[in-house]
């Protein structure tokens, strides 16, 4: 079965933006009020940057799309915050993707959500539970639900084109989801993620271990799901219709959201230890989070705890990654939740500090009760994790079984883009934290940009790679992010349905292991993964930058049942 999300989109009866924009301000929903000039763009440019003259007047070669075309947002139900939804083993949840009214900076928009909520319901289950989710698609696009990081039965993975057909508008699908691993997980559609996920279709699942002391003690818990929106003044920038735009770097928003809102706020007592469950649901942005100088320790990531808790200065999350951290607020006052990065101004050839405040933690002078300061100050070891990892250590030093090179091929990009990128490739940052050239990025669609996973052994690319491994096998996969590509960029590589260890980066062994389902591969880096291929089925392996996935950067790892010979 092949993945054909774009064809499905075009086939959607609800698809509704027929005109190809020949001019930046013509025919684009949400663009009223913009004016054209030779040096302005219908998309926001970084401060102090201007568009290239050679790109003036160009638009992506696709129609435009925003949810709820022709619907007055006032006629839609207002989005509510995600509600904690405890479920027991055997319970059933109805999960409806629907159009909602969301208000961002005082302006109402038609967007998406699950069950009237953004984020979707926070599903809370016990480790080992199995639940049934009846999904109802009430949005204007085909959709599905992928249970990110959960090692569930393959047929319920929600991977459109691999494990199921997309659920048409008005259609339903019943998922059975079992939760073998404790931790923080998330769900989102697996068709046109650049639109549906960005517009609000995401939610978390917290899976509680039976051990009450599974994590270090905390006074409270916060589940934060991070995302961003790209807006110009008070309008949303439309999405590519037949194909994703922003295909070169992915869509990096300029309005940063926590749980779907731009102004996250938390109140705490002096000395409180707060456990944060963090998820990056942004299409492309990598975060570097800190809490106004409050001390942080990291406990866990995608699919397990770390072997050892670690003190960190900040928390780096690539798209789709999760981290569980604890923060101690030992000083009264205001502690901003910051995203702090060093952006590159390609126009001036300089780095520029960029700091965004995502929210505020206000700490009063009332002492925390109980005081978990001593436990916070110590860093626990998790021998159960180490014992589990021990079973895989003999693969750490073996040659890789499989190798993938990450690269890109382009055709038909504007000449100015090609000229600029050709001469601006002397240096690439390991991570592009922001979109430094949004004009070029916006104009690139998946019709011109083809992101590639290339099998070094066969030269086959993306879906043409036909990898089969036996259930219960251990696979060592080496990923190399080619810095000589036309536009090298970091890639958060996600493997469905299995768990994996990052055992080395650039030949340097990992010292503190954690089970992952998504790992960042910086530009020019080599990352070695050891995959526990214990869950049979056809599992997608792809870049989780939504536009890179939409531009082809995926393959399938077939884990054949142990009883099947091949």
């Amino acid at each position: 079965m092949r993945r054909r999300p774009l064809a499905l989109l075009v086939a959607s009866a609800a698809w509704a933006t027929p005109a190809v924009a020949q001019h930046p301000t013509h025919g684009m929903p949400g663009m009223a009020g913009m004016h054209d000039s030779s040096h302005t763009m219908p998309i926001p440019m970084p401060a102090g940057m201007v568009m290239m003259p050679g790109l003036v007047g160009l638009t992506p070669g696709v129609t435009t799309f925003l949810p709820g075309h022709g619907i007055d947002p006032a006629d839609l139900p207002a989005a509510r915050p995600g509600a904690v939804t405890p479920l027991d083993d055997g319970d059933t949840l109805d999960l409806t993707a629907m159009l909602l009214r969301r208000t961002i900076h005082g302006r109402a928009f038609a967007m998406y959500g699950f069950n009237g909520q953004v984020p979707g319901p926070l599903i809370r289950v016990r480790q080992g539970a199995t639940i049934t989710v009846r999904f109802h698609n009430h949005i204007d696009l085909p959709s599905s639900v992928h249970w990110h990081g959960v090692r569930l039965d393959n047929r319920y993975d929600g991977a459109v084109g691999v494990t199921q057909q997309a659920v048409a508008p008005g259609g339903d699908f019943v998922y059975t989801v079992r939760f073998p691993d404790a931790g923080i997980y998330w769900y989102h559609p697996h068709v046109r993620e650049d639109v549906e996920q960005s517009m609000g279709l995401f939610g978390n699942m917290v899976v509680d271990a039976p051990d009450r002391d599974y994590y270090s003690p905390a006074n409270s818990e916060q589940v934060l799901i991070l995302g961003d929106l790209l807006m110009q003044a008070d309008t949303l920038i439309p999405y590519g219709g037949e194909a994703p735009d922003f295909a070169l770097m992915g869509r990096v928003g300029n309005v940063l959201l926590v749980n779907g809102e731009p102004d996250y706020a938390l109140h705490a007592h002096r000395g409180d230890v707060v456990r944060f469950y963090l998820t990056n649901a942004a299409s492309s942005r990598t975060y570097n989070l800190s809490f106004g100088g409050a001390p942080i320790k990291v406990l866990a990531s995608d699919v397990s705890r770390f072997e050892h808790e670690a003190r960190v200065r900040s928390v780096v999350l690539g798209p789709a990654e999760r981290y569980i951290v604890e923060v101690r607020f030992d000083r009264p006052g205001r502690h901003p939740l910051l995203n702090s990065v060093q952006a590159i101004n390609h126009f001036r050839g300089e780095f520029e500090a960029q700091v965004d405040t995502l929210g505020m933690v206000t700490v009063d002078s009332t002492p925390a009760g109980p005081d978990h300061g001593a436990a916070f100050d110590s860093l626990r070891a998790n021998p159960a994790v180490s014992r589990d990892v021990d079973r895989y250590r003999r693969w750490f030093d073996t040659p890789p079984d499989k190798r993938l090179t990450l690269t890109v091929r382009t055709s038909g990009l504007p000449l100015a883009t090609v000229q600029f990128m050709t001469i601006d490739t002397a240096y690439y940052a390991p991570v592009e934290w922001v979109d430094g050239m949004p004009d070029m990025n916006w104009l690139s669609t998946s019709r011109q940009v083809h992101w590639i996973l290339r099998d070094d052994a066969t030269g086959k690319e993306n879906e043409a790679i036909d990898w089969h491994v036996k259930e219960g096998s251990v696979v060592k996969l080496r990923l190399f992010n080619d810095p000589r590509a036309f536009h090298p960029m970091q890639h958060p590589i996600h493997l469905h349905g299995q768990r994996m260890l990052v055992v080395a980066r650039d030949g340097v062994p990992t010292l503190n292991h954690v089970w992952k389902d998504t790992a960042i591969v910086p530009v020019g880096s080599t990352v070695d993964l050891v995959i526990d291929a214990s869950n049979p089925g056809a599992w997608m392996l792809h870049c989780h930058i939504a536009e890179h996935l939409g531009a082809g950067m995926m393959t399938v790892l077939h884990v054949d049942p142990a009883t099947t010979a091949r």
């Binding site: 780096v316 001036r348 240096y427 390991p430 991570v431 650039d506 020019g524």
Partner: protein, 160 residues
């Protein structure tokens, strides 16, 4: 270290000196103080639970693996006992001592600057507070290759 390992290390050092320059590589240039010296360096991302070593304000954090050969004995350049690696901002206003360097491979750091010069100087001891001795090798971080396009024909007609 056995003789075989020395040979292997020397071979690896030679490979580094001869290898093409990549996004983490720094070519080092000699000076009149030690015209026969040769060197190269590679930025090694510092370990992090997140796979990317950065500071809280977003600066990349690297160790620096320096490979040098044909450095003369420091005392041949004056009253010096050691070579020391430094990272300096391009305007030379900020210097960070990275650690001692020698012929063969030395790993020093961390360096947490956006753009920097890598400078190796001869010094009276291996941990001086300031650089005072002659420079024997120097190079530029890969990020130093970033260039301004303010006057490039692609942007002709645009004024800032």
């Amino acid at each position: 270290m056995t003789q075989g390992r020395w040979r292997l290390a020397a071979f690896a050092a030679g490979l580094l000196l001869l290898s093409p320059v990549g996004p983490y590589d720094i070519k080092l240039f000699s000076t009149a103080a030690a015209p026969g010296a040769r060197g190269a360096a590679r930025l090694i991302p510092n370990g992090s639970p997140f796979g990317i070593g950065v500071t809280a304000d977003g600066h990349a954090s690297y160790g620096v693996r320096i490979t040098a050969e044909k450095l003369p004995r420091p005392d041949r350049l004056g009253r010096f006992t050691a070579y020391v690696a430094w990272a300096a901002t391009p305007d030379l206003t900020q210097w960070v001592r990275l650690g001692p360097a020698r012929n063969g491979t030395s790993t020093v750091g961390p360096v947490e600057l956006n753009k920097f010069l890598l400078v190796i100087t001869a010094e009276a001891d291996s941990a001086p507070e300031k650089h005072t001795g002659p420079t024997v090798l120097h190079g530029t971080s890969p990020s130093g290759w970033l260039q301004s396009f303010l006057t490039h024909p692609l942007f002709r007609g645009i004024s800032q």
